[in-house]
Symmetry: C2
Subunit: 333 residues, 2 copies
């Protein structure tokens, strides 16, 4: 048997309005006596309020949507955790949506979330996002972009890490260690983070009076397989390089495997540097020198901004560019 507020009201001998007020802690105009009476009935019958019905009238669902490419990609769990931690702290629940970077799926989720009346959305946009989502900016639901900016419309906020300066720092470090020929094994070239990292690579090289060579820039995907095959291809083609700047850690893992396969050593023969600092970066052999992105914090901050907007006290700064940090381990000589 499921009890409603009416049942409780009847059993406690008061009106539903009164019950509503006590369970929502709008106590101030309620006698202690009636409050206790109501609460005891509530407990006795194990009444659980139907928040769906509340939402109907309050227009708030206390729910947000989190749209990411793939939770089983090691880059995203920390992000998601950050989002959920802040959200649940403020009483919000989080819908998890995986798009696999598919613009179509992304669109479907966006619609579904709107139908479910979420109060806001945190979106790591697919690389292929089209500019046609007029429906999105029309619906007045706040959206904050996470990890990847959205250029197709004005979002309520953006949280990214400083990919450009992170890459700049990584490449500068390689240069400072005496590297002369740095291969850049990039992720998908159409993704914004990739582009920024490429720019960082170029800037660092130029600032240190090194020539940028087109053939030293190879783009693929953010996967171990690409790191592996890309490295193999580079070696087999006779490309000369003393170090690899990898678009992310997964690529670096693949690169290290390929280098080992060729009977070469990391870092003695080839240095490798990654990007992200996912959990495994410190565990592989050799421990990976990499650029740490503050994933948990990025998730947390985006949640904070979004809920700030929802609750009408948006933070003054809604365009966060969080600092990366070079983590020096043993994969660079």
């Amino acid at each position: 048997m499921k009890y409603t507020i009416k049942d409780i009201a009847r059993l406690a001998g008061v009106s539903t309005a009164t019950v509503s007020k006590v369970i929502n802690r709008k106590d101030h105009e309620i006698t202690e006596t009636t409050r206790k009476k109501v609460m005891s009935i509530v407990r006795q019958y194990n009444y659980v309020p139907n928040r769906i019905a509340s939402s109907m009238v309050t227009k708030k669902t206390h729910t947000i949507g989190l749209i990411i490419p793939d939770i089983s990609n090691p880059f995203f769990p920390e992000l998601a955790r950050g989002v959920e931690d802040y959200a649940s702290k403020l009483g919000y629940a989080v819908f998890l949506c995986n798009t696999d970077n598919d613009a179509q799926k992304e669109q479907t989720y966006l619609e579904k979330l709107q139908e479910k009346m979420v109060d806001g959305i945190i979106l790591t946009a697919s690389s292929h996002r089209r500019t046609n989502s007029k429906d999105l900016k029309e619906s007045n639901i706040p959206i904050v972009a996470l990890d990847r900016e959205i250029d197709s419309f004005k979002s309520g906020g953006t949280v990214i890490s400083d990919n450009l300066s992170g890459a700049y720092e990584a490449v500068s470090y390689l240069l400072s260690r005496g590297m002369k020929k740095i291969l850049y094994l990039a992720g998908p070239i159409n993704s914004k983070p990739s582009k920024d990292r490429l720019q960082g690579y170029i800037n660092a090289l130029e600032d240190h009076n090194h020539q940028v060579k087109q053939e030293m820039i190879l783009d693929g995907s953010f996967t171990l397989d690409w790191g592996y095959s890309g490295t193999l291809k580079a070696i087999d083609q006779g490309l000369e390089f003393d170090s690899i700047f990898c678009g992310n850690d997964m690529i670096a893992f693949g690169a290290i495997q390929a280098i080992k396969l060729k009977g070469l050593r990391v870092p003695q023969d080839i240095s490798v540097i990654g990007f992200d600092d996912i959990a495994m970066a410190g565990i592989i052999d050799p421990p990976l020198t990499t650029v740490k992105q503050p994933n948990y914090q990025m998730g947390y901050e985006s949640s904070k901004i979004l809920i700030g907007i929802i609750e009408k006290h948006p933070p003054e700064n809604r365009e966060l560019v969080l600092n990366t940090k070079l983590i020096i381990r043993d994969s660079v000589i």
Copy 2:
């Protein structure tokens, strides 16, 4: 401006009932003419139905809750992905909840999810779950237990992997490779999977006429740190062992680090075998021999069972014990 079904009805010159039927594909008693008229208005005004309102009358939210200890623990993303994939295929959205193995948080989420009227819950119970949750079995919301059985009440279904036989196979394999002294670095001893794996360890030893020694069984937590410190302690205490059976892969990673630190080699000096086969298992050096749990499948199947129950066609078998598989790589000699 947000349009409701009433607006659309008015604009299309029909009743709300008619609009409702066309958007829910209850077309069969609707003229093609009116259907088209309605649809054109729907598109023109970009109408998005309020599913919260629907839920009020249908008593279905098409939403499920997923309660796990921690999405940033590498064991869970694949599970979560499996759950979400099947759910979204069937039109359900998934709430993500992290408990950190805290019975209190778990309870809070359980209540919150009930209030949000989820149609069902998938629960990886905290190790410390108390038996007092009468409210849970009273609420008629279906729950399926994932990865860890729930003994405090009868759940709607259970999906686990065969921890006992997985451990048995791992230890038998070690024995077959000539190991004589197998250290068991267990996870938390109060967790069901840990207990089952311990039993598998014991059974394998006994079946092969080896003595089970209490000092060779060390329990801690499912973390890299424990694998590291446990191994160091074992070595420093002068415990003699030629191999380690680890409660999970994280423990194994820690063990390998400790072994290397001591100047010993894996697998030449000490063999290591893990459990789970998380994504990184094949990437570390040496690639880890381990027992694969079908995480994605576990998530997928639990979602299938839950939604089956929700939609009144529960699968005949709701107690799944999925097979593990020994993945042989290079960490055992």
